[in-house]
Amino acid sequence: MFRIVNKKELNSAVTLLEIEAPFVAKKAKAGQFIIFRVDEFSERVPLTIADYDREKGTVTIIFQKVGLSTKLLAAKEVGDSIRDFVGPLGVATEYDGFKKVAVVGGGVGCAIAYPQAKALHELGVEVDVIAGFRNKDIVILEEEMSAVSDNYYLMTDDGTKGEKGFVTDKLKSLIEAGNQYDAVIAIGPIPMMKFVSLTTKPYGIKTIVSLNPIMIDGTGMCGGCRVTVGGEIKFACVDGPDFDGHQVDFDELMNRNSVYKKEEADLAEKHICRMDKMAHDLIH
């Protein structure tokens, strides 16, 4: 069992949990992920590591409530435990030879972009962060991101905070203004990563994306997370989750991620029963 030692609601849909997992904390690196399972009946769900504290032996995850498992996880409080927490999985991001990097985060993807910016910053790399959100109410990690970047650009679709526009608009204007990036690291919804990759391609800027396909084991034994990169089948859990954005078949990934739409909707009903049961267990 893995105990929750800290909890913060970052916005109405996004939760931060700090979880005791000394083995994971000891080895974790930016770009890697964990798989959690809330209880005996739960699914295994992957989440990228947002932060870690090797001395305290804790790992921080930040996630959006999108379905049954993330809702069950968000309902846990400090002092509660979850059943399984395994990692660090996947390959850590490689920063060899980078002097200046643009880190682009979209929505809750900023939770994963943050450890990237932080790791680069600590290596002495010049970091520009572009963080994009739909509106001011869902902005997360503004202070944290600012603290680890040389320039922090906040974008909202509706202009209610920071600049109005998409992250791709900002990225393009920064490149056009003469910023020489050795790499762009883009993390967020699949369409956003796709369009960032399309934006950088004409300039030939190396673009790293962190893919989020459906996973089960996360150790390379099932291929549920397979993606096509440069025409070849790759397993995101062991070969990734980082890949060259110019080589990824994003449309295929989007299609594959839609596989359980119906089943996930059916789970919403089940969710109510499980929440009731949890409440019942707490009272008795």
Binding site: G220, T228, I233, L267
Partner: protein
């Protein structure tokens, strides 16, 4: 006086049309009377050919003689003196190509039902006197076992009996390897696997789940930082192969590992569990091994109206157990033999709507004596399906060998070991099971675990 009946005593089974709608065990097992009757068919041969057909050399005529006398406890003790998982082996071993293939009674008529008798004794013990073993006197030495499948469990059991402090590191959240994620409940009830693991725990074996070795800890850290005196690698062959044909990335294409893991380990077949599985109307399972039979029979039980096995050779070459093929047919699985998929078809929305196959014929035997299938040009046809399960084999996962210095593997990714001792190319690091042989059987994995345990004991006594 021996019973000279040419046929085995039949084992009761659930009716095919009933069992293909539930996940309960198909074969129901012998009663006491049936077991005692079948036991009298054993001639108690002096040269015991059956024993040489068993990879862990179970003392077969001896335990069967005890069953005939009605002393099931004595039979259990003889059985478990060499086999750590009799309830498992009695159910999943391919006896027809092992112990029973050597039985003298099989020359004229059916061999003695050794597997069924083994299963009977193990089940009888669990039902009647399932006492936990005692923790043996400790010798102060520590051994790490990586993986918790059949080779690892056998190795851990033998080492624990010899007094070693054994820690099993398992990547999944449940121990058992293929016994829990691969082989379905209707062939091997998971409660049986759990009982075997509980027995290991009673002997002092510590099982640590959620530990992906190669990521969380390296083999070097296990030896140097954690002070283990030896390591056994029993990580199996869990990396699935795909065919690399068009359409394999469509929604509705699974590896058999994914399909079976969702159903068996994550219990997608039970309503209380959250892990989803697609509702399929028609499923094509590509392959002819036990895994393919398991996937096809699961698909039927999950409600598919049509389930097809697509296999590129003929039935004679099928690697699956005879009994499983027979059961699959009884349950309504249809066989497309000498057929090879060339393409998976898209319904226009990114989902599977069919599988295009080519008819094959068997060519001349090749150097290995196997007749290779040769495609018949222009014989393409389509089977309408909404789900495809690829069950064309697996290979060892590269995670450990790619993170451990000095651990040699062959070109298929299988760890290289000394055949006498099962030691790898690293001193003090042993390996066995599918990680060494590639995908094989439960009992061969157990035999390797047993051999490695003896070699580890020998190595540590002299160290």
């Amino acid at each position: 006086m021996a019973n000279m009946s040419l046929e085995k005593i039949r084992m009761p089974e659930q009716a095919p049309d009933v069992r293909n709608k539930n996940f309960e065990e198909v074969a129901l097992g012998y009663t006491k009377e049936m077991a005692m009757e079948e036991a009298t068919r054993c001639l108690n041969c002096k040269h015991k050919p059956c024993v040489s057909g068993c990879p862990v050399n179970v003392r077969i005529p001896e335990f069967i003689a005890e069953i005939a006398k009605g002393d099931f406890m004595a039979a259990y003790k003889i059985l478990t003196s060499t086999n750590a998982l009799p309830a498992v082996c009695g159910r999943v071993c391919p006896q027809e190509s092992q112990c029973e293939s050597k039985c003298v009674r099989g020359i004229k008529g059916e061999p003695v039902a050794i597997g069924r008798l083994e299963r009977f004794v193990a089940d009888w013990y669990m039902a009647n006197c399932d006492e936990m073993p005692e923790k043996p006197v400790q010798n102060g030495k520590k051994v790490a076992v990586i993986g918790s499948g059949p080779s690892s469990l056998t190795c851990a059991s033998d080492l624990a009996k010899a007094g070693y402090a054994v820690t099993v590191f398992e990547a999944f959240h449940t121990a058992g390897g293929v016994l829990v994620y691969g082989i379905p409940e209707f062939r091997l009830p998971k409660a049986i696997v759990q009982k075997e693991i509980d027995k290991l725990a009673a002997m002092g074996v510590e099982v640590m789940t959620n530990m992906v070795i190669g990521k969380v800890l390296s083999i070097d850290e296990i030896i140097e930082d954690m002070g283990f005196d030896a390591v056994f690698i029993g990580t199996g062959a869990g990396l699935p192969s795909f065919m690399n044909i068009p359409g394999e990335a469509l929604v509705g294409v699974y590896s058999a590992n994914e399909y079976l893991t969702r159903i068996n380990l994550m219990k997608a077949y039970l309503p209380d569990y959250d892990t989803p599985l697609r509702k399929s109307k028609a499923v094509a399972v590509v392959g002819g091994g036990n895994v393919a039979m398991d996937a096809a029979r699961c698909a039927k039980r999950m409600g598919a109206e049509k389930v097809y096995i697509v296999y590129r050779r003929s039935e004679k070459e099928m690697p699956a157990r005879l009994e499983e093929v027979h059961h699959a047919k009884e349950e309504g699985i249809e066989f497309h033999l000498l057929r090879n998929p060339v393409k998976i078809l898209d319904d226009g929305k990114g989902q599977v709507c069919g599988i295009e196959c080519l008819k094959m014929e068997l060519g001349e035997p090749d150097a290995s004596g196997r007749r290779s299938p040769v495609p018949i040009e222009g014989s393409n046809y389509v089977i309408d399906v909404d789900t495809v399960v690829m069950s064309i084999g697996t290979s060892p996962n590269p995670l450990i060998r790619s993170t451990t210095q000095g651990l040699e593997a062959n070109r298929k990714g299988c760890l290289v070991v000394n055949e006498e001792t099962n030691q790898t190319t690293r001193e003090g690091v042993y390996a066995g099971g599918d990680a060494v042989t590639g995908a094989a059987t439960v009992i061969l994995a157990m035999g390797a675990g047993k051999k490695a345990a003896a070699a580890i004991d020998e190595y540590l006594k002299n160290k």
